[in-house]
């Protein structure tokens, strides 16, 4: 079943075309990263899905409900974080979460228990009775994530959720999303942080100037764009002859050696990756300390697509 569908979604801000004929189908149980540079149309899409703005043309559906004409039914299943969260400064986190929880029909006993849980998850328990007016940006972001997961929604729509978070906060946010996806929920995550998306999502949709450039699993995109990169750490530097031997391997496109590490660009599948590792260890006797896909791969796909789009 599709959790989120957009059909020919188009939006203009005056003469500026923010979104052009966007067609997306996001299946339930997936985490989809929505990538694109500033002004690509990511926030516009999310705002349409959350009924904050209306499309000029096209439709958006959440669990089969039109996000604009049946917004209450559509938003019932959604936990959303749009832009930098701002809250009512005169309320504290418990009051804010109670307010939004009650609007969603949660009862007082349910709410009391769930608010405690959520504040613990987003690490705001000790600030539960402090007015939000005194909160930092990162704390507001944590509370924003908290209100998005408060009602345990089957669909999460998050716009730059890592914004303003410290490294620990980013890690915790990723864990929250991963846990929810493991439970069969759907996450739609707009970001420009490629690393964030690669760590959290299994699929990516790449958007630029309002147009969808690609939408596939990260692995497929890497293969498609011959961008699979392997980062190898060694206990000693390889000899030039050994590096040449790797270069001559079938499917290996480039090898960049730097003291005790190698970055190997491989035009192949995961099976070719396994073959490469076997050759390094068994045939060459290379002292491999670690062998992992490089985080630069998605960046290469991203840059290649944006360049092609321009």
């Amino acid at each position: 079943m599709e959790a989120i569908v957009t059909e020919g979604l188009t939006k203009n801000y005056g003469k500026i075309l923010a979104l052009s004929d966007l067609n997306l189908k996001i299946d339930t149980g997936h985490c989809v990263g929505f990538l694109g540079p500033n002004g690509a149309g990511k926030s516009t899409t999310i705002k349409i899905l959350c009924n904050l703005i209306r499309p000029a043309r096209g439709k958006a559906f959440i669990n089969g409900h039109d996000a604009n004409t049946e917004s209450t039914s559509a938003l019932k299943n959604v936990g959303a974080l749009v832009e930098t969260p701002e809250f009512y400064n005169y309320l504290n986190p418990v009051e804010v979460l109670s307010y939004f929880g009650k609007l969603r029909g949660m009862t007082d006993p349910d709410l009391k228990q769930r608010i405690q849980q959520v504040l613990e998850i987003v690490k705001l328990s000790e600030w539960s009775n402090t007015r939000i007016g005194k909160f930092s940006r990162g704390m507001k972001q944590r509370l924003g994530i908290g209100q998005a997961i408060l009602h345990d929604p089957p669909i999460l729509i998050l716009d730059e959720p890592a914004l303003g978070l410290d490294p620990r906060g980013m890690y915790e946010m990723r864990e929250i999303i991963k846990t929810m996806v493991k439970e069969g929920k759907t996450a739609f995550l707009a970001s420009h942080m490629l690393h964030e998306v690669q760590e959290t999502c299994d699929q990516v949709a790449l958007l630029d100037k309002g147009k969808l450039l690609a939408y596939d699993s990260i692995s497929n995109l890497e293969t498609l764009f011959k961008a699979r990169k392997i980062h190898v750490d060694l206990l000693r530097p390889l000899k030039p002859t050994e590096i040449d031997r790797i270069r001559k391997m079938e499917k290996v496109k480039t090898v960049t050696a730097e003291e005790k590490s190698l970055v190997i660009n491989i035009d192949g599948t995961e099976a070719d990756q396994a073959q490469l590792l076997t050759m390094l260890v068994k045939e060459m006797g290379a002292p491999v300390a670690s062998f992992r896909p490089s985080m630069e791969a998605l960046e290469d796909v991203y840059l290649q697509l944006i360049k092609e789009g321009n």
């Binding site: 904050l52 749009v82 701002e86 009512y88 005169y90 009051e95 609007l103 029909g105 345990d152």
Partner: protein, 272 residues
């Protein structure tokens, strides 16, 4: 795990929830205290100053009450602008709407909840001012009449009318300050000037909300329309006083039309 039961939450319940949290906002802000101080100062000035300065008080209670409660209309404009000016616009200006609007709640319920909270908050200082006036009447003249209660009800009608128009400004404008000031200047200056010009032309401004609001004192101390003519001159000065069925209908019409427009605009307004 808590389940989403927003289907079970009706529009009325949403209105009540929104009103409760908006009331909390009004109670925690300094504005409520400020209008109570204004009401107390104005009331005490009208009661205490004549004694302090040894100024003769009106002989009859109705004249005194009419003077005292004429300030209620200005107080209504102040509290209306204070409590409703930022009701809608602040959601856009301070971006809190990004949190509130993605909830499964109709924006109509949000507007009505906010309106209910603004009305209840504004009712407190207005009620306080009327209580001061009633106390003054009892203390000075030893009497109190049903007309004070009727005047209070007319004051509430004017309050609803002011709130309705201020909500309209708040949904139209993105700046809370602009909506608050527009409401204040509209009722204190612009409408007063327009009403005066219409009156000068010899036409009764029965359709103006600020003129209709004169019912709050007219019910206490009824006056009749009059025309003053000056001998040897064509100059005429007209004095009109609001008539009861018309003033109620006019204020109710402003309230309904302005609030309905505010709901339509809020429903259509995009959060870009």
């Amino acid at each position: 795990m808590a389940k989403d039961k927003s289907d079970d939450v009706g529009a009325l319940q949403h209105i009540i929830i929104v009103a409760r949290y908006e009331l909390l906002k009004h109670l925690r802000r300094k504005r409520l205290l400020a209008v109570f101080v204004i009401a107390a100062l104005a009331g005490l000035l009208l009661i205490v100053v004549p004694y302090a300065l040894n100024v003769a008080l009106p002989k009859d209670a109705k004249s005194w009450a009419s003077t005292f409660f004429s300030f209620a209309n200005s107080l209504i404009v102040i509290v209306g602008a204070f409590f409703a000016g930022d009701a809608i616009s602040s959601e856009y200006e301070h971006k809190t709407g990004y949190m509130l609007f993605p909830n499964p709640v109709k924006r109509t319920s949000l507007v009505l909840g906010k309106f209910a909270a603004a009305f209840i908050s504004a009712l407190l200082p207005i009620g306080f001012y009327y209580a001061l006036g009633a106390g003054g009447l009892l203390g000075i003249y030893g009497v109190i009449s049903w007309e004070i209660g009727a005047s209070f009800l007319y004051a509430l009608l004017y309050l609803l009318c002011v709130l309705g128009l201020t909500f309209l400004f708040s949904s139209l404008l993105k700046s809370s300050m602009a909506a608050t000031l527009l409401s204040f200047f509209m009722f204190i200056f612009i409408l007063s000037i327009v009403s005066s010009v219409i009156t000068l032309a010899g036409v009764e401004p029965w359709f103006m909300p600020n003129y209709a609001a004169g019912s709050t004192t007219q019910v206490i101390n009824p006056q009749k329309d009059a025309v003053m003519e000056f001998q040897g001159s064509s100059l005429k000065i007209y004095q009109f006083y609001p008539k009861f069925p018309a003033s109620i209908i006019v204020q109710a019409a402003y309230l309904i039309v302005a609030l309905a427009l505010s709901i339509v605009i809020t429903n259509r307004k995009e959060m870009t």
